[in-house]
């Protein structure tokens, strides 16, 4: 009897201690973040300031001009650009999804090969498309405009659309100073440049991270304290042990280049997506690169195109995406194979080195993160979202006043 009472008392004591422990854990303040080291501080500052200096679509004389941006916006949402009136650029780049489509792989007239990237801050990239086959926003726009699985349009069709709509024709003259060109290729290129002017205007606003970064620069401890503690720990991992900052560098959180991250490159059994390797080949064969006669005085912007070199290791490399607004752009990777940001963090945490290119770079290695560290990285990534990135609304087109054509 005594023994039974003693066991019950011991059990009650254990439950009480456990409960007290849980209560203490719940009541304990979150572990304070460790102070920033000089290296961490420098690396954090390198991710700003935001917004960066204004950038314009290279080789595009229409870039930055208000009328061109407005007309480009109108064309972006206009399904008449596709001959059957079914598809617009916005079909795969919806503002409410941070200019993505939320699909694993985009759907045009058929399922496409890759995931639709966000267009936010695209003007600050160096290359476009997951394989970097385009060296400007406008040359990139030519591909979906003409691809048989996407808008499948032509210069002749675009001219018909513009000339048949008096308001559109008026805006065309206002934006370009000329009537729609008679030459089909010129019509396509002008349309692409108008789209490039619009997409180049999409620069997202500041994020909680930007406020923290600027507070670090000012040494403003009170402002730094407003950044969530878990995001701060995640940031310190990002620029520290996890070394994410090596590729996700600078204010856009992308170094603008390409990497093999062991994602695999089979589109379907027996069909390979060579990624950057084919992208460079396509670029060098392009009639619309910054080295072509279609480019309007690209200046120094053409340096990349002149000097880029095709290497064996480019096979299976895909573009390093910006992480700004990443929380709003699921699913992830070039083929949309990872459903959530948590999956992305897990991919890097447990990366399979056997899936990396045998003679490629050696940067990635399994991180061995704890559950808490993975959550911290996730919190940091979520702090890179502009709260307005999913709420962008197109401005209504302004009335068009006919202007004389330029000579």
């Amino acid at each position: 009897m005594k023994a039974r009472i003693a066991r019950r008392l011991a059990g009650l004591l254990a439950v009480g201690l456990l409960g007290a422990g849980l209560l203490a854990a719940a009541a304990a303040p979150e572990a304070p973040p460790s102070p920033l080291t000089p290296t961490e501080r420098a690396r954090i500052l390198a991710h700003g300031p935001w917004p960066p200096p204004r950038a314009l679509d290279a080789g595009n004389a229409l870039a930055g001009r208000g009328e061109a941006v407005a007309l480009g916006q109108q064309l972006f949402f206009d399904p008449r650009l596709s001959p059957d009136g079914r598809l617009a650029c916005a079909s795969c780049h919806a503002p409410a999804l941070a200019f993505t489509d939320g699909r694993v792989r985009s759907m045009g007239r058929a399922e496409l090969d890759r995931n639709a990237p966000s267009l936010w801050n695209a003007v600050h990239a160096r290359w476009w498309d997951w394989d970097g086959a385009a060296d400007s926003l406008w040359s990139q726009a030519l591909r979906p405009l003409t691809d048989a699985r996407e808008l499948a349009t032509s210069g002749a069709h675009l001219r018909t659309v513009v000339e048949a709509d008096a308001a559109l024709a008026c805006r065309w003259r206002q934006a370009t100073g000329r009537p729609p060109p008679a030459d089909d290729e010129a019509m396509l290129v002008h349309t692409a440049k108008l789209l490039g002017a619009f997409v180049g205007s999409l620069v997202s606003a500041r994020t909680p991270f930007d406020d923290f970064r600027d507070a670090v620069e000012r040494g403003d401890a009170a402002a730094m304290a407003r950044y969530p503690v878990d995001a701060r720990r995640g940031l310190q991992l990002f620029v520290g042990r996890a070394r994410c900052h090596l590729c996700h560098a600078g204010p856009t959180f992308s170094n603008g280049e390409f990497a093999d991250i062991g994602a695999g490159f089979f589109l379907r059994p027996g069909v390979v997506d060579p990624g950057r390797h084919r992208g460079i080949q396509r670029l060098q064969a392009s009639r619309h690169s910054l080295l072509s006669a279609h480019a309007d005085d690209p200046g120094e912007a053409a340096t990349k195109t002149r000097h880029v070199q095709l290497q064996h290791r480019n096979f299976g490399e895909f573009k390093v995406p910006s992480l700004r607004n990443a929380a709003a752009t699921a699913p992830y990777l070039h083929d949309g194979r990872l459903a959530t940001l948590a999956d992305v963090v897990r991919h890097y945490d447990q990366i399979d080195l056997d899936r990396l290119h045998a003679d490629g770079e050696r940067i990635l290695e399994p991180l061995g993160l704890s559950v808490g560290e993975r959550a911290d990285l996730l919190a940091f990534l979520q702090s890179l979202e502009d709260p307005l990135a999913r709420r962008w609304q197109p401005a209504p087109p302004a009335p068009c006043r006919q202007v004389p054509d330029r000579q």
Partner: protein
């Protein structure tokens, strides 16, 4: 140098305008810009000294830049017939994604264009000089943040 490094270490040849040390070598034994010039970097071998200054400076990841290069022969060596320039990250086992071009400007001076260091970290600049029927390889490592 790994296979990848070799593949990435491409550069164009630059013709040599003369075989003898020219004004690039200063009378006081210096080479190229004076040592107090900011952002001046240097690689040295027994046969050559290569002084190079990035333009624009300082070096920063993610932006194209050029190098103003001065080559000074040492120990009776000649100016190179050709110069190749490249950069790589030995710890990461990758080079640049861009192939620089090199122009000879005369008197041991050269201009390399089209370089881009696409990551922060330690980069190694490599210079391959062809002189007196031999190759002379020089390198210099620098941290870029």
């Amino acid at each position: 140098m790994t296979g990848t490094g070799r593949a990435c270490r491409a550069a164009l040849l630059a013709a040599l305008p003369g075989l003898l040390p020219g004004p690039a070598a200063a009378a006081d034994g210096g080479c190229g810009p004076r040592p107090e010039v900011r952002h001046r970097l240097e690689a040295t071998s027994a046969r050559h000294r290569v002084v190079f200054v990035p333009q624009p400076a300082p070096l920063a990841p993610g932006r194209h830049f050029g190098l103003d290069i001065t080559v000074c022969p040492r120990g009776g060596a000649s100016l190179p017939l050709a110069l190749r320039v490249d950069a790589d990250m030995p710890a990461h086992r990758h080079g640049m994604n861009y192939r620089p071009t090199v122009r000879a400007l005369g008197d041991g001076r050269y201009r390399a264009d089209g370089l881009l260091l696409h990551m922060p970290g330690r980069w190694r600049f490599s210079f391959e000089l062809s002189a007196d029927g031999r190759l002379d390889r020089l390198s210099h490592e620098v941290d870029v943040e």
